[in-house]
């Protein structure tokens, strides 16, 4: 992979350039004035001459999920106008073609796109969004105490899923051009190639910060997590949980949705919008029966989905260790503790046999 050098000033100029060509998004600090249909809370559309990039330590306030799986996404449109020849004909909603560039993405979020891509591999909307989105990421110099990407098989220095990966050096950035899309973002730019010394320093940092060889994951994966379906800790979690959707909605790897139609003055659209397995309505049957009618069942589902059902079906765990849910859960439910408890229980179970 080609690695180039860019100074902060050059980066600013480059972003101004992008802003003219593409739709560029950057992390928002504070409240963004209004959410345009194509913008997500926590991100803002970059404007000409705007201030340099603001990048908090740790994950960005909002994950990149909303660019691939917008809240809401229009799937179909139709008219109910009696005089219209196409009355009630559903039309697939057209995606804007323009490339959107998201700048300031962290490695954990970049990894989440690949995970969500597993269930959505045949979803035309997700795929269209994937084609038109480029991720310009920054590897992390510092980890927050709630960051646990390394335990989940990621790394603060990871580049997977990004198109351009920037890593800070003393006075500038090293830009790794991860793929063609990344290269196209730099087209026509004359940047110096990184020297030997810089390259090896980068390699050392990546080595130091590589995914930890997690015994915990191995235990969770190897053993039958299903045996802990009735473990007592679910009760305690269910007791604390208020079944809101905060964790699911801020999570980059939660991807469930619901669908509704909206009709305004005879013009209709069918949207899909985020749903959460924490809501009772999520699993409510038309008959009135709810297979996950109890709070504890719903809380358990979120964790078992991430740690068992998803890996059973697709391989990897459905968590990148960004720690957002750990920080923002209103009742301080901590997925790291959940995983620790489950691992201990499994170890004990195996020891007993």
């Amino acid at each position: 992979m080609k690695v180039l050098k860019i100074t902060p000033a050059e980066l600013d100029a480059l972003m101004q350039q992008w802003q003219k060509q593409y739709v560029v998004f950057v992390p928002a600090s504070g409240k963004s004035a209004a959410v345009s249909p194509d913008c997500a809370p926590g991100w803002k559309r970059m404007e000409a001459g705007s201030a340099p990039l603001f990048l908090p330590v740790g994950p960005t306030p909002a994950s990149v999920k909303a660019f691939y799986f917008p809240q809401p996404e229009t799937l179909l449109t139709y008219t109910l106008d009696n005089n219209h020849p196409d009355k009630a004909l559903m039309r697939e909603s057209l995606k804007p073609e323009a490339m959107q560039v998201v700048v300031g993405v962290r490695p954990c979020d970049a990894g989440s796109v690949a995970l969500n891509n597993l269930p959505y591999s045949e979803d035309p909307h997700f795929q269209a969004n994937r084609r038109r989105t480029a991720l310009v990421g920054f590897t992390c110099d510092t980890m927050l105490s709630t960051c646990f990407c390394r335990q989940m098989g990621g790394s603060p220095m990871a580049q997977e899923g990004l198109d351009l990966a920037l890593s800070r050096t003393e006075d500038s950035f090293l830009v790794t051009v991860v793929n063609e899309k990344g290269a196209s973002l730099l087209a026509g730019l004359d940047l110096t190639v990184a020297g030997e010394a810089e390259l090896s320093a980068l390699a050392v940092r990546r080595q130091e910060m590589a995914a930890s060889d997690s015994a915990q994951l191995a235990t969770l994966k190897a053993a039958e997590l299903g045996r802990l379906y009735d473990a007592p800790q679910w009760q305690a979690l269910g007791d604390s949980c208020i079944n809101c959707g905060a964790c699911t909605f801020i999570c980059p790897t939660c991807y469930c949705f619901d669908i509704q139609d909206e009709v305004v003055w005879g013009q209709g659209r069918r949207i899909r919008y985020w749903d959460s397995c924490m809501f009772p309505l999520y699993s409510l049957h038309t008959s009135g029966h709810n297979p996950r009618g109890k709070k504890v069942q719903r809380t358990r589902n979120r964790f078992l989905h991430k740690l068992k059902y998803f890996p059973d079906r697709f391989g990897p765990f459905s968590c990148v260790g960004c720690g957002r849910c750990v920080q923002d859960c209103p009742v301080n439910i901590d997925i790291r503790e959940v995983m620790n408890d489950l691992t201990n229980d499994l170890t004990n179970l195996t020891a007993l046999e």
């Binding site: 249909p37 449109t77 305004v264 003055w265 013009q267 209709g268 659209r269």
Partner: protein
């Protein structure tokens, strides 16, 4: 759609209670009191039936103005429906004002079955107020071009 143009006429949704205000509107009609043709009447059993959900989704659907009218306090067919309504509407209209919905968009009145003339003048005044405010845009749901067919 209510677009701002020279021909714009306010659309006002009126929730009228069956026993007083609706009858008042009827009387206004048979007595040939003139009032602006801008109101669309929804007949409800009692002003106490009109919930905040109904008022808000009427706004959402693009009504330029809303009028809720029931029997005078003391005259409710169900004895106390309008007394409950009065408390609810007082709080709701203050809340709407608090978040910047223009005063005059959402209106409440008492009109009895014998007050045809009163009904005409309430409609007159509400229409005037709404006309002065122009087409509603706050809390009006729109699907923009990209979202609509």
């Amino acid at each position: 759609m209510t677009d701002q143009n020279d021909n714009w006429e306010p659309k006002i949704i009126a929730f009228l209670c069956n026993w007083c205000s609706y009858a008042g509107a009827d009387l206004a009609g048979v007595s040939r009191f003139q009032y602006p043709p801008n109101i669309r009447i929804v007949r409800v059993p009692c002003s106490g039936r009109v919930s905040e959900n109904m008022i808000m989704s009427t706004l959402k659907s693009g009504a330029d103005g809303i009028l809720v009218s029931g029997c005078h306090p003391g005259d409710c067919h169900y004895i106390s429906g309008n007394y409950f309504a009065r408390r609810r509407f007082a709080l709701l209209s203050n809340l709407l004002d608090f978040v910047g919905i223009e005063p005059g968009r959402v209106n409440f009145s008492w009109v009895s079955a014998s007050e045809g003339e009163q009904f005409a003048s309430v409609v007159q005044s509400v229409t005037e107020k709404v006309r002065a405010l122009g087409p509603a845009s706050r809390l009006v749901k729109k699907l923009d071009a990209a979202q609509a067919a």
